[in-house]
Amino acid sequence: MGIGEGTGFVLLALLGGALLTHGLERWVGPPERGPALPVSLSCGTVLPNADRWLFPAGPIVGFMGVLLGTVVLPFGPDLVARDLGIGVFYFIVVIDFVVLGVALTGWGANTPGAVESCYRIVAQLVAYVVPLGLAYVGAIMMAHSLSTTRIVEAQSGLWFIVLQPIGFALYVVSGLMQSYRHPFLEPFADGIGGGILSVVGGWSALLWRIALAGVLFLVAAMGAVLFLGGWSGPWLPPPVWMAVKTYALMALMLWLGRLARPLSTAEMLALSWRVLIPVGLANVLVVGILILLHVGPG
């Protein structure tokens, strides 16, 4: 894809995905708390003692992280903006910009609720990065490549969800952590007035709305690529298959998340470091043994 059409494709995919995610969040369950809190797009905010360099940088960095993440999403055999050789690793790196954006906005706003949300978002980063990385490793081992299109092609025979159920479960839990959805709502909890969403207004509210909905969309889309065979499917055209799988996985994640009670930061960190990471390491070994026994496509 050339640069011009690549840019158009990325912007279209992101805004469309974020819009549908926004709609799906409202439809799936009770009025969603946390990142989907209603925020006024029309009324801006003036913060007297904010940091005038970090505070506006937050939404821009968050929006940029989501925009860059959409570059490697494959919606069809050649419907991907840039099929990078290390696409999946690039995806994990770029999604961290959203956490950086929230931290910048939180600290820059200089209000107790926002600064507390900055501390909690760093705690959430510490909790979700390692298990998420381990959940990706399983799919990469079987696909022999980090490029997203190669991973989807490797799943033409059998989807990886069948071969790696543990990896899929680990991905769903750390995906919920990564997109701050129920039950891991701490950075946007009501206790601190919705964290940064209480200090965000006008244009930054719009950028944050796109970024936070975009994160959930990207997490679900990458889950579909890694475990549900991306765009491959019998009758429907490839992009439609990708959209169907993405929103099915998103609905499953949101529904599963609502079953659990909201976890505090301490419980989330304990869950991540005591349960998810050992399970992730075990999953890597199990998938390695599967490959050595020539079970998977490897």
Partner: protein, 111 residues
């Protein structure tokens, strides 16, 4: 003339363009969004704060590197077979020993 930039740089040109577009859109939105705005009165909160996940953060710094070693290994694993698998078993054993030590020493708790 030197050969055109090889395909690694060409692949990331779209990424660079998108960085500029994101910054541009953000600044444009900030500059043009002249709407009524409410002032939020709140006490300044930049103060010393003792967060509870001290040991988690320290271990995260060291443990973050494990992913970097795992991805190249995962890519070439199927071709190298059992030797690479034993390598990674040793690497994973070392890392889980680290986590077990931190857990045993009471590190994985909220202070």
């Amino acid at each position: 003339m030197q050969v055109e930039g090889n395909d690694i740089e060409a692949a990331y040109s779209l990424v660079g363009l998108l960085v500029i577009i994101a910054a541009g859109l953000g600044l444009l939105a900030m500059a043009l969004w002249r709407r009524p705005s409410r002032t939020i009165e709140a006490p300044p909160a930049w103060a010393q704060y003792r967060f509870g996940f001290l040991i988690y953060a320290l271990i995260f710094l060291a443990f973050d590197m494990e992913m970097i070693f795992m991805y190249p290994w995962a890519v070439v694993f199927a071709d190298l077979g059992i030797a690479a698998f034993v390598d990674m078993m040793v690497f994973i054993a070392l890392l889980s020993a680290g986590i077990a030590y931190a857990w045993g020493m009471g590190g994985l708790e909220w202070e």
